[in-house]
């Protein structure tokens, strides 16, 4: 269609709209394909997270009773799975070249965020630190360092903020094992730092506010869990909101060395729960105030 002629016949109009149809179909098809791929990424990422939990709470294998060996095994298995997901990203990166990335960002971001969650969990078990933006972007690029697509700060932060929920489950299920309370406290401190860092980003990113609330709840669960699991099964009646703080107080009261307390907890837990060390701590009541749960620790 020349730039000079306006359209004045039906056939000319139909010809132009034919072009629009192809363009719109092309767009919708691409979007559908990317949504499907994103769903595949989500599924694989969830599997990685389950895998990590499974290995970290696996008591059956005697060869790696200490946490480091177990973490190393979890991380190496997870790396393989993560590689699979990275291959998926590489596979559809051609659909996201140039200006297309931002056109389809919303189609791919659910999977991408789930992947970042799995990746950051793996990274935490390996290093005890939070993965940086550049390290995440590096996993999303080929051997020559070309990015499959740009990583948006938004996806990075939202992916990370889901990590706290997984760490909560990890901490809770660690409690019954030897050294578990120390582990739970360590995770607690880490999650608390994450929450503090993320607070300053909250005004910029709409969905982050919701996730920050979830993080507060996770944090509270770890704090309560550290305490509840111990005392409920020692048949001690202490108000639940005293959380991790009570562990310290009571252990001094009973004058037990930490290792013995660990063993005691471990024994009561296994007799009370059988094999179930899942992350289902009972929450007494939801708390309005985010900050409240943070006062009783360390």
């Amino acid at each position: 269609m020349s730039k000079q002629t306006t359209l004045n016949t039906r056939s000319a109009i139909i010809q132009v709209f034919d072009g629009f149809r192809n363009e719109l179909d092309d767009h919708n098809d691409r979007r559908e394909r990317l949504i499907k791929s994103s769903r595949d990424v989500t599924n694989l990422s969830k599997k990685v997270i389950f895998l990590l939990h499974r290995i970290m709470t696996d008591d059956a294998s005697p060869e790696d009773q200490d946490d480091h060996a177990r973490a190393a095994r979890a991380v190496s298995k997870s790396r393989d799975k993560l590689k699979e997901i990275q291959n998926l990203f590489a596979g559809f990166s051609h659909e996201l070249q140039g200006e297309r990335f931002w056109r389809y960002q919303r189609a791919v971001s659910p999977g991408l965020q789930e992947y970042i969650e799995a990746l950051s969990f793996t990274y935490y078990l390996e290093t005890g630190r939070l993965i940086s933006y550049h390290e995440v972007q590096k996993t999303l690029s080929d051997a020559e360092g070309n990015n499959y697509f740009p990583l948006s700060v938004e996806d990075y932060l939202l992916g990370l903020s889901d990590l706290t929920g997984e760490l909560m489950r990890y901490a809770i299920s660690s409690i019954p094992r030897r050294g578990g309370r120390a582990k739970a406290n360590e995770v607690c401190a880490f999650v608390r730092n994450c929450k503090a860092d993320f607070e300053s980003f909250t005004p910029y990113i709409r969905d982050l506010r919701k996730k920050q609330n979830v993080t507060s709840q996770s944090l509270e669960k770890i704090e309560d869990g550290v305490y509840l699991r111990v005392f409920r099964h020692l048949s001690l009646k202490v108000p639940c909101y005293l959380a991790a703080y009570a562990v310290a107080v009571r252990s001094s009261e009973y004058d037990l060395p930490p290792e013995i307390l660990d063993d005691l907890v471990s024994r009561t837990m296994s007799s009370a729960f059988g094999g179930d060390h899942g992350g289902s701590t009972r929450r007494k009541r939801p708390r309005e105030d985010d900050q409240e749960g943070m006062e009783y620790n360390d």
Partner: protein
Amino acid sequence: MDSANLDFINRMLEQDSELREKIKDQVTEFDKKTRTMTGLLNKIHSTPTAQLPLLLDSVQPILESCKETTGAIANLVPANQFWRWKEMWSISLRNAVFSATLIEYLRSGTLLTLPQVSDILGIQPEWQDKFTLAAEDYLHGLISLVNELSRLAVNSVTLGNYEEPLRISAFVKDLFAGFTMLNLKNDALRRRYDSLKYDIKKIEEVVYDISLRKLAPVSGK
């Protein structure tokens, strides 16, 4: 989070929010212009045909001035980020498409193509990844055009112009034939497309009244 990463994230977020503010200022300008145009164009419903060119001429300079705004926005948007920001100005842009196509219809009875509208709004082909007129926005503008023409069909009769509704009817039916070519998904465009049939019905009723009373020569079409 280590401090280098924290700084980096903060810097990125800060940059984006500054950019958003800058784009917002331009979009406010764009919005003012398009609203002034639609305000003026609303007078077509009470302007006799003879005085119409004068009215359209008064809108023309504002339409021309949209070039400055599109240029300013294109300057702000970073490479490849068109789709990230476009929602900020898409309402204004659709209104500009509406104004441009309405003016052209009133002058020549024909439809401006997408490249022609782009050209009028000063949108350069090399801005493809920063500022462009997407098919979706052009089509939204055309639906607004049909909505407006259905009103004009009624009002031109009030002004004693019995031929205009026939012209509008033929034009809108051609345009509608174009829209039926599209496979629309269940989105905003689809919902607005569904409204077209009410416009067409309204126009047909006016045409019926005119032909029944033999107020205008009904040609073959």
